[in-house]
C-alpha cells in the first residue's frame, strides 16, 4: 500500500486571517476548514469498501468498468500467506477466477460485466479529499483494535501524513 498527500490547506493563511480579526487561534475552529487530498494506491477493495463508509469525504476511485484486472494485482492477507494449505486454496481460486475473466473479455463481454466475478482482494487506487474533522473520525475508528489489519495500517498512515503536514491540529489525537 502507498499513500501520498497531494495537497493540504495552508493553515498559516487561515491563522493570519484569525490574527487580523483578533480571534485567538484554536485548533477546534479550523477542524472543518483544513482539508487534505490523498492518493491511496494498492490497497484492496475490501479496505476501500470500509473506507467509503466514511461518507463525509470525497472519493474518486479507479473504475473496473474501464480498466482490465490482472491476477498480479492482489492483496494477500497475512493469515492466508502464512498457511501453506490456505494459500494453495486462495491461489487456486484466483487462477480459476482470472482464467474465467479473461475468457469472458475475450468473448466480447464488456469489462464492466466481466468484473462481477472479480475478488475483493484486488488492488485499487483512489483519491480522497476530506476535512481534518472527518479524517480524525477515521483515525479514531479505524486504528482501533477491532478494525481490520489493512485499514488500520491505512488509518495510521493517513494520521502520520496529516500530523506531519499540520501538527498543530493533531496534538490531541491518539490512535487506539
Amino acid at each position: 500500500m502507498r499513500v501520498k498527500l497531494l495537497y493540504h490547506t495552508d493553515i498559516e493563511a487561515l491563522k493570519r486571517v484569525l490574527a487580523q480579526r483578533g480571534v485567538p487561534f484554536d485548533p477546534e475552529l479550523l477542524m472543518d476548514h483544513v482539508v487534505y487530498m490523498f492518493e491511496i494506491e494498492d490497497c484492496s477493495r475490501v479496505t476501500t469498501h470500509q473506507l467509503v463508509r466514511h461518507r463525509a469525504a470525497s472519493y474518486d476511485q479507479e473504475s473496473q468498468r474501464f480498466s482490465a484486472a490482472t491476477k498480479e494485482g492482489m492483496v494477500t492477507p497475512p493469515n492466508i500467506q502464512s498457511s501453506e494449505a490456505a494459500y494453495k486454496a486462495y491461489d487456486e481460486a484466483l487462477k480459476v477466477i482470472y482464467s474465467s475473466y479473461d475468457k469472458m473479455v475475450a468473448a466480447g463481454v464488456p469489462k464492466e460485466d466481466a468484473r462481477y466475478i472479480l475478488p475483493s482482494a484486488i488492488k485499487t487506487k483512489l483519491v480522497m479529499t476530506l476535512s481534518a474533522r472527518s479524517l480524525m473520525h477515521i483515525v479514531w475508528q479505524r486504528t482501533a483494535l477491532q478494525a481490520q489489519w489493512e485499514i488500520r495500517e491505512l488509518a495510521a498512515t493517513l494520521h502520520n501524513l496529516a500530523k506531519e503536514a499540520t501538527p498543530e491540529l493533531w496534538t490531541k489525537v491518539i490512535e487506539r
Partner: protein, 142 residues
C-alpha cells in the same frame, strides 16, 4: 482566503484516477505534458456528463463578514456540505468544494451567495477556466 492549488489540474487528476491504472506520478506527468487545454477538455466533459464528484477535490475557505445566524443557518440547512464556523460577532469562516459551489449557483436559494464567492475567486484569478465553464452565464452577462 485560501483555495486548493491549480483547481482545473486537480479536477483533471481526479477524473483520470477513475479511468487510469497508472500511479499518481504518471497521471500528473501525463497531465503536465498534455497541458491546460486537456484539463479544460476533461472539465468540460465532467460538466456535460454531470459527473460533478470530481469537482469535490477543488476546495476553498472564505471569510464572511456581517452575516447573521439566520442567513448562514438558512444556507447550511439547504446546502449541508457547506461548512461554517462563527468566529466573532457576525464574522464567519466558510468552507466548501467546487461541487457545492456549482450546486449553490444552480439553486435560487444559493445563487446570491455563490455569486459573491465566484466574484472573489475571479478577482484572484483562482480558477478562470472552471469559472468560465461552470458559471458561464454570468461571464457572458458582464
Amino acid at each position: 482566503m485560501w483555495s486548493s492549488p491549480m483547481p482545473e489540474r486537480t479536477i483533471a487528476v481526479a477524473m483520470r484516477r477513475c479511468f487510469s491504472t497508472k500511479v499518481i506520478e504518471e497521471i500528473e506527468a501525463e497531465l503536465e505534458q498534455k497541458g491546460p487545454e486537456y484539463w479544460k477538455y476533461l472539465l468540460t466533459k465532467a460538466l456535460q456528463d454531470k459527473s460533478l464528484d470530481v469537482l469535490e477535490h477543488f476546495t476553498m475557505t472564505f471569510f464572511l463578514e456581517g452575516a447573521n445566524d439566520a442567513e448562514v443557518g438558512g444556507l447550511i440547512r439547504n446546502f449541508p456540505y457547506l461548512r461554517a464556523t462563527l468566529l466573532k460577532g457576525s464574522d464567519w469562516m466558510l468552507s466548501m468544494n467546487g461541487r457545492t459551489l456549482v450546486e449553490l449557483w444552480r439553486d435560487p436559494r444559493g445563487k446570491e451567495f455563490a455569486g459573491l464567492v465566484v466574484s472573489e475567486l475571479d478577482s484572484r484569478s483562482v480558477c478562470p477556466v472552471f469559472s468560465e465553464l461552470a458559471f458561464g452565464e454570468r461571464v457572458h452577462a458582464s
